[in-house]
């Protein structure tokens, strides 16, 4: 309830400040989606989201923007408390109003310029990178994996309290980020619909041993444990180029394993712990006739992977990781967009000791066409991991009946080895039907 009072206070301040404003703008978006599990022929989830937004424009070109989200799961299946909340800081944790309803402050920031410097201060999302569907440099904000990667990134990204300063110097746009908010990825609980089971993501207990999972050891110094980011962007001879640097705690906790005794029997105790990494990277894009080429690369100095032998070195392997994306978009005839991406990740050291391959390759393909003056959109997205032979196929058709009324129908079809990152959800195939209304 403490956090709830904080939100209430924020909203009151917001309303109070409207008295000083020159322009006030508000809207509400209500979204409902029903997911039907095609294997069980039963509801996987029926969710309702209500997102009010309020923006205030002040006389001096400064703006205060705010967005909250009320989310409800209204039938059996996926539930609000499916998510482990250890990843959230106290300042960003959604408030669970009851078993089926949660309330979350999604945005609250002040934005404006002082001379040539532009400030965005408050809870916000920072999006880096050029990749679609998967992430390499889009890691400034952590993500909720409540629905794995099926939810829109805008909705699953966890906004952070951030000081975002941007300044243009000659031909360069410079960005400095200071993020004191220690929130990390939010993962599903062990018994949740989209709980991770792939050995690449979670350790497997030796046969016959029990498992204890402790609460995560979290960084707690608001200054010393804050994240810092820098980005320099320029437009050079037709190329959009950025150089990125981030000093952050990995959004995914390191799962350290230790042997212990439980009622006289050996057990594995898993202690999630957050560790620092430097991230050095960059992005590029350019257009050539019908083609757009884009890419991004990130080098992570300290990533932790799950060790094959969980009893050695606390069951982890520490190694740098090189992760990159090369994407090609083709504007094909009949207004069809065809897009493909090659995404590869290299474990630099001791890859043979980890539960994954040294080189992991994922391919994505997207075909999209807009019809009827952009009111009808049909698309199919394929994400395929070539190492495990698993992936997901996501066809979707959406139609805008009115500007404020949209419906869609789609499917999320997983396939492949259950030890793969996608194949682990092979039994979660679903058809979705959704409706969105805004005012």
């Amino acid at each position: 309830m403490k956090a709830y009072k904080k939100y209430l206070w924020c909203v009151l301040v917001l309303w109070q400040s409207t008295a000083l404003s020159v322009e006030f703008d508000s809207s509400i978006t209500a979204t409902s989606q029903w997911a039907i599990d095609t294997n069980k022929v039963d509801s996987q989830s029926l969710s309702l989201r209500i997102v009010p937004e309020m923006n205030i424009d002040f006389e001096n070109d400064w703006q205060l923007k705010s967005k909250v989200r009320l989310r409800a799961e209204v039938i059996d299946g996926m539930q609000i408390n499916d998510l482990d909340r250890d990843g959230f800081s106290d300042y960003s944790k959604p408030v669970q109003l009851n078993d089926g309803v949660e309330f979350e402050l999604r945005e609250l920031y002040l934005q404006g310029g002082i001379g040539n410097t532009f400030l965005t201060l408050g809870k916000q999302q920072i999006v880096w990178g050029k990749a679609d569907g998967l992430k390499v440099l889009d890691i400034v904000n952590p993500q909720s994996f409540r629905e794995f990667i099926l939810d829109d990134f805008d909705s699953s990204r966890i906004p952070l309290w951030t000081m975002n300063i941007e300044r243009t110097v000659a031909d360069w746009d410079l960005q400095f980020l200071w993020i004191p908010d220690q929130s990390y990825h939010a993962l599903p609980k062990q018994d949740a619909t989209y709980a991770f089971t792939s050995p690449e993501l979670v350790p497997t207990a030796p046969e016959g041993m029990g498992v204890n999972i402790e609460h995560a050891k979290r960084p707690n110094n608001i200054i010393l444990d804050s994240d810092v980011g820098l980005r320099a962007a320029t437009f050079w001879k037709g190329w959009d180029i950025t150089f990125n640097y981030l000093y952050q705690y990995n959004n995914l906790a390191v799962l350290r394993q230790n042997l212990s005794m439980e009622s006289g029997k050996p057990a594995v105790t898993i202690t999630p712990e957050y560790e620092r990494t430097h991230v050095i990277g960059g992005t590029f894009s350019n257009a050539f006739s019908d083609w757009v080429v884009r890419g991004e690369v990130g080098y992570f100095t300290d990533h932790y992977f799950i060790r094959k032998n969980s009893l050695q070195k606390q069951g982890v392997v520490k190694s740098p990781e090189l992760h990159y994306v090369l994407g090609l978009d083709w504007n094909a005839p009949w207004d069809i967009l065809v897009s493909g991406q090659l995404i590869q990740s290299w474990v630099i050291n001791d890859a043979d000791k980890t539960t994954r391959d040294k080189l992991d390759t994922t391919l994505t393909g997207l075909v999209r066409r807009n019809f009827m003056y952009d009111t009808l959109v049909a698309e199919v997205l394929l994400i395929a991991n070539t190492n495990n032979g698993d992936g997901i196929i996501r066809p979707k058709i959406s139609y805008e009946w009115q500007d404020n009324f949209k419906t869609w129908v789609g499917a999320d079809v997983f396939y492949g080895d259950k030890e793969g990152v996608f194949g682990q959800f092979d039994r979660n195939d679903r058809v979705v039907i959704g409706v969105e209304l805004s005012f």
Binding site: S27, V127, T168, G238, A287, V292, R294, N331, Y373, T375
Partner: protein, 269 residues
């Protein structure tokens, strides 16, 4: 046949040819008209509100409210469009750099708020319809100017549109590739010869069937610059039409350079 009769027949044959040559000699060439259009003062920079009212053949109506900025940086023209309403498209932004060099493709970016990313888009999309309207990306970029490099032109007559005399210029894309990029095989424009502004354009599709008609209306001077306030576009193939209405047009106050950046697209207005 007597000599006098022969002369009469000859005159009947030659007279139309002679008259038509005399008329065409009096008409300015298509290229000179195009140059006059592009020489018209547009101001260095302009800001204005643009409302797009789109109606399909069943009468379903959608309305977008935007703020549009345009500025010349030497010979390079930059245009930025920020969507303000309705909610489903609010904060979408479009930015284009149009280079004077014929060999250099334009650079274009689109910001989609759902992705929170500025996406590079191919300039070869220029014949596609711009975000659900009946104007193409190319039309949006050029506004009231014309592309000198994409068409061959000839003046084929005179007409009157909205009570104003104009020359009728036939424009044909220079080759099939350009025609496919632009999405039409022919255009016929009525150009007001007093202010060198197009009053009406008719387009034919790649099969040479009527495609759309663009009608430029409510043309008046704003701060000494001739300005279109309404563009009515009717698509003959789909029955869809779009009315573009410009208001709050301002050439005098200038536009900051940083409006035409990817950062500005992301931040919105």
């Amino acid at each position: 046949m007597k000599t006098r009769q022969k002369m009469k027949v000859l005159m009947m044959i030659l007279l139309p040819v002679i008259v038509s040559n005399v008329i065409s000699a009096e008409l300015p060439s298509g290229d000179s008209i195009a140059k006059n259009i592009n020489a018209r003062n547009e101001g260095i920079a302009v800001s204005r509100n643009l409302t797009m009212q789109m109606t399909d053949r069943h009468g379903k109506e959608r309305v977008r409210e935007t703020r549009v900025f345009r500025k010349y940086f030497g010979d390079e023209k930059r245009t930025a469009i920020f969507y303000l309403k309705p909610k489903n498209i609010k904060d979408t932004g479009f930015l284009t750099y149009d280079y004077a060099d014929k060999e250099t493709d334009d650079d274009q970016w689109l910001y989609l708020p759902a992705m929170r990313k500025v996406r590079r888009i191919s300039a070869s999309d220029r014949g596609d319809y711009f975000l659900g309207t009946d104007l193409s990306y190319e039309d949006i970029k050029l506004e009231t100017r014309v592309s000198l490099k994409d068409y061959t032109r000839k003046t084929i007559g005179e007409d009157v549109v909205d009570g104003v005399h104009c020359y009728v210029v036939e424009e044909t894309p220079i080759n099939n590739d350009i025609a496919e990029e632009l999405g039409h095989s022919r255009r016929e424009s009525c150009v007001d010869d007093t202010i060198w502004m197009t009053r009406r354009s008719k387009f034919w599709d790649l099969q040479n069937k009527p495609l759309k008609t663009t009608h430029f209306k409510n043309i008046s001077e704003v701060q000494g610059i001739w300005t279109v306030h309404t563009i009515n576009v009717e698509n003959h193939k789909t029955g869809h039409h779009t009315v573009f209405t410009f208001s709050d047009v301002n050439y005098n106050d200038g536009v900051k350079d940083n409006v035409f950046t990817q950062n500005a697209l992301k931040r919105g207005l």
